[in-house]
């Protein structure tokens, strides 16, 4: 294992310490691994979080127009309820707090328990669950669809709504609308190594890729020989369009890298995605290309589409200023 670390046990705290040294507008609470805005405003608070290893998610999205606090767990493991509770406390300005949870069993359990703890202390807390990954069939009797890169756009929408002074109910409704209109599909070309484990989580062959792989290396839907950018864009977008009809609509597009994919390749992919969407009469309102929801040093990408109505469009266009997302 080759990593710039001191000890696998300290990667999360040392990362967040390093991060706030670079972003003095944020404050870091050691041991509970919470990053929050230093300057608080009276509005609905937004909290997200999850396992570490997905940087810049989620601490990178703390700031004006997005989150109020982010809670980090160990690498790929949900933060515990006491940590999430601290995030809720930091975000709570008396107007209620909305938790934005990615759909994983661990995150759901820990965030819900934190919600119960915060409610015992008198806080008004609600939550939404993001499940945008079309690689997995949605299901009511099991965990169902995963939350991946689309979560960042949900932060953006909910964050903009909260910044306008909306109520908790209204912020939740905007987040839920975004979630209902968002779909993502990803693929991986190489594995990643958890610092505490020391060897790759899985192995892909020299010319092999895995379509639909999750952001923790969860198996995808098919293995394939490496594809051209055009073929890859076809596969990913096709899977999304089969799940949700974006025809004749306006969308926001996110081309996300998983950590080790050069921006060059992400732009090439974006070039192809744009051609496909145009050919299907899907109009692109805004495009984001970059590493938004990563998986340590995994190489690969995901494509996310969010269908916009007038409200979502104005929320996507609203100003925001966070370490990893500006506009």
């Amino acid at each position: 294992m080759k990593k710039i670390i001191n000890s696998p046990d300290h990667v999360v705290s040392e990362m967040l310490e390093g991060m706030v040294k670079c972003h003095p507008e944020l404050v870091y609470f050691k041991d509970v691994e919470v990053v929050a805005r230093k300057i608080k405003t009276k509005k609905v608070g937004l909290v997200s979080g999850g396992g570490s290893g997905h940087e810049p998610a989620h601490a990178g999205y703390v700031g004006r127009g997005m989150l109020d606090a982010a809670v980090a767990g160990n690498v790929f493991a949900s933060p515990s309820p006491d940590r999430v509770l601290k995030g809720i406390e930091e975000a709570n300005q008396g107007e209620g707090v909305l938790l934005i949870i990615k759909n994983y069993s661990g995150d759901i359990m820990n965030f819900q328990m934190a919600k119960e703890l915060a409610e015992m202390d008198g806080a008004n807390v609600d939550f939404v669950v993001v499940k945008d990954d079309v690689a997995v069939q949605d299901s009511t009797y099991s965990t169902g669809r995963r939350g991946i890169a689309g979560t960042v756009l949900v932060h953006k929408i909910a964050g903009a709504k909260a910044e306008q002074g909306a109520t908790l109910e209204e912020v939740k409704a905007a987040a839920a609308k975004a979630i209902a209109n968002i779909r993502s599909m990803g693929m991986a070309m190489s594995s990643c190594t958890l610092p505490g484990v020391g060897k790759p989580s899985f192995i892909l062959g020299e010319n092999e890729i895995e379509i639909g792989m999750g952001i923790h290396g969860e198996p995808g839907i098919e293995k394939s020989e490496i594809l051209s950018a055009k073929e890859l864009a076809d596969r990913l977008v096709d899977k999304i369009l089969k799940d949700f009809d974006y025809t004749n609509s306006e969308v926001a597009v996110m081309i996300n890298g998983l950590g080790a994919t050069p921006l060059m390749e992400l732009y090439i992919l974006n070039n192809e995605v744009e051609k496909i969407l145009s050919s299907k009469n899907i109009s692109i309102h805004k495009t984001y290309v970059g590493n938004f929801m990563t998986s340590l040093e995994m190489s690969g990408c995901s494509v996310t589409l969010l269908k916009l109505d007038d409200e979502l469009k104005s929320l996507i266009d609203a100003p925001c200023d966070t370490p990893a997302f500006k506009g």
């Binding site: 396992g51 493991a77 309820p81 069993s105 484990v197 999750g214 923790h216 290396g217």
Partner: protein, 213 residues
């Protein structure tokens, strides 16, 4: 033999199970890399090492407060699903212990039933979902049967351990409904659930410790 567990003995048991978990790094990590994301051992080991390093604090507490503290420590150190599930289990079990200073087998059964209920409620999961619940559920079932049949303490403990072992082995052919193994094309069929294995280690270590002490 008549089994009675003091809190000092319980802490010795925690040391034993920590050693067992620490020694199974490769096996558990490998299992979890096949069906999950490979971090189960890292997190569980971190949690049990934390309990060991907190021994002097835990010693000062009453039995039920010690259980509650163990729950909080596991919850905050292990993180992930296992942390909150074991945390909920210990916190729920703490209220079963009440003022008791010694746990006999009748109370131990209640403690484990409370742990089982705590995990099932928090995880919104049931036996057969290919999780840690399967080892615990089958173990508790056999435990209860043996108590009802007025078996000796030794027989009761053996039944508990064998039931848990059977429950763990049964996860091999189950399809996962919860957690990351659910995303596998074959839902993890053919592989033991790592959470069921570490749950079994804890029951096995407790029974072995009680039978030899």
């Amino acid at each position: 033999m008549k089994v009675e567990i003091t809190k000092e003995q319980y802490l010795t048991y925690i040391e034993k199970v920590s050693e067992k978990i620490a020694s199974e790094k490769n096996y558990i990590t490998e299992l979890d890399s096949i069906t999950g994301d490979g971090d189960h051992w890292v997190n569980m080991n971190m949690g049990f090492q934390k309990l060991i390093s907190s021994k002097s604090d835990l010693e000062q507490l009453s039995f039920n407060q010690m259980f509650k503290k163990i729950g909080m420590l596991i919850m905050s150190t292990v993180g992930g699903s296992s942390g909150v599930l074991y945390g909920s289990a210990y916190i729920k079990a703490a209220s079963e212990i009440g003022d008791a200073e010694i746990i006999d087998l009748a109370l131990l059964l209640k403690v484990f039933e409370a742990k089982l209920n705590g995990i099932m409620e928090r995880g919104n999961a049931k036996p057969g979902d290919k999780t840690m619940i399967d080892s615990l559920y089958r173990g508790v079932e056999k435990f209860k049967e043996a108590i009802s049949a007025n078996k000796s303490d030794k027989e009761v403990l053996m039944a508990f351990k064998e039931g848990a072992q059977q429950g763990m082995q049964d996860t091999k052919e189950m399809e996962a409904a919860k957690g990351r193994a659910y995303y596998q094309t074959n839902k993890g069929v053919g592989h033991l659930d790592p959470g069921a294995v570490t749950m079994y280690y804890q029951i096995e270590a407790l029974v072995d410790f009680l039978l030899t002490s």
